[in-house]
């Protein structure tokens, strides 16, 4: 199974209260295939988290109202399941700060003053990492879909085959009312089973699979 989902451009949020820094960063990254949003204050940064969930945040540490570490934690909470990578861009560089940054999930730490070419290379590398993670998630999703479709095919096939068989028997062999009742009951049972399976699929929010020899894992609907 191949994905036909269109790959959208990664979104970068640059949050630094100094407009000189954001002007340089934006320009240095302007040739990358990504969407860049700038925030100079907490209010705008929070709004951008909601309106344009970023895949990567380039974050200053020392800012008025909130420090970068606290904002990183807040962003993760706000974004929930939307995965975000964080790169700190700052001249606050004690060993404790570095340790703390990586503890709260930063993937890189760029020191100011930064070399513009180096900044671009490191952001490109962060974007590649994000892309790999997205690919992995997509593969997981596809594998889940395969299991679901395999299960639907497997589970629906049995009652459908039974219903078709009973209908054929009706057509060819029925000679009495008693015989007719047996075959109609079989068809009813098979159709009822199909209806139950559809209802289970509609309300399924979690799934487990069973491994069958020579087959893909098949979703348990029973």
């Amino acid at each position: 199974m191949k994905s036909k989902k269109k790959r959208i451009q990664p979104v970068i949020l640059v949050f630094d209260d100094n407009p000189v820094i954001t002007m340089i960063v934006k320009k240095a990254l302007s040739t990358l295939a990504c969407e860049i949003h700038i925030a100079h204050d907490l209010k705008i940064a929070r709004e951008l988290l909601e309106s344009n969930p970023p895949d990567l945040i380039l974050l200053d540490v020392v800012m008025p109202k909130i420090n970068g570490f606290d904002f990183a934690r807040e962003a993760r909470k706000t974004l929930g399941e939307h995965e975000v990578s964080i790169v700190f861009v700052t001249n606050k560089v004690s060993l404790n700060d570095l340790e703390f940054a990586y503890d709260i999930g930063a993937i890189d730490y760029i020191r100011k003053p930064f070399d513009l070419a180096e900044l671009k290379i490191r952001v490109e590398s962060a974007l590649r990492l994000i892309d790999v993670k997205k690919d992995m998630r997509e593969k997981e999703w596809l594998s889940g879909m395969q299991a679901t479709i395999g299960s639907v095919v497997h589970n629906f096939n049995q009652p459908l085959t039974a219903a078709i068989f009973s209908a054929q028997m009706l057509e060819r062999k029925v000679k009495s009312q008693e015989e007719l009742k047996v075959y109609v009951d079989d068809i009813h049972r098979a159709l009822k089973k199909l209806k139950e399976l559809i209802a289970k699929l509609e309300h399924m929010d979690d799934f487990t699979t069973t491994e069958y020899p020579q087959h893909e894992d098949i979703l348990d609907l029973d």
Partner: protein, 135 residues
């Protein structure tokens, strides 16, 4: 092409204000902005306007001895000035911080005055830039 423009740019006014700039940083900035005088001057103008206001806050923090406010503003100006190649401002800032942390507020105020002169020089450079680049 970029090199040619840079040479013209450099010859015209950069050398007359050489003490202000870390030439290598400036060159790299110039290349990223693809030699756009408008964008480069906007960048320095933004720095200048923001820093002029911040120096007033720095002066108050030196007088009151509030190292927290001083530290935050220092961090801000230092990060920006070093990234746009403003050598004179970056080194003077460091000297000012050293004096303040050695409990020498008079020395810090002295460096603050030098910073103001450096900003005036930058302003002068920007005006010349604008004049030269007008069609």
């Amino acid at each position: 092409m970029v090199q040619q423009i840079y040479k013209r740019f450099n010859r015209s006014i950069l050398e007359s204000h050489e003490t202000q700039f870390e030439i290598q940083e400036f060159k790299s900035l110039y290349e990223v902005f693809e030699g756009s005088f408008t964008e480069i001057s906007l960048l320095y103008r933004t720095f200048l306007e923001r820093t002029e206001t911040q120096l007033q806050e720095i002066e108050s923090s030196i007088k009151t001895g509030d190292k927290e406010i001083f530290g935050r503003i220092f961090h801000d100006i230092h990060g920006a000035s070093s990234n746009i190649g403003l050598r004179l401002i970056t080194t003077t800032l460091k000297d000012m911080k050293r004096d303040l942390y050695k409990e020498n507020p008079d020395g810090a105020i002295g460096h603050l005055k030098l910073l103001k002169i450096a900003l005036e020089d930058l302003n002068d450079w920007l005006s010349k830039l604008q004049e030269r680049m007008q069609p």
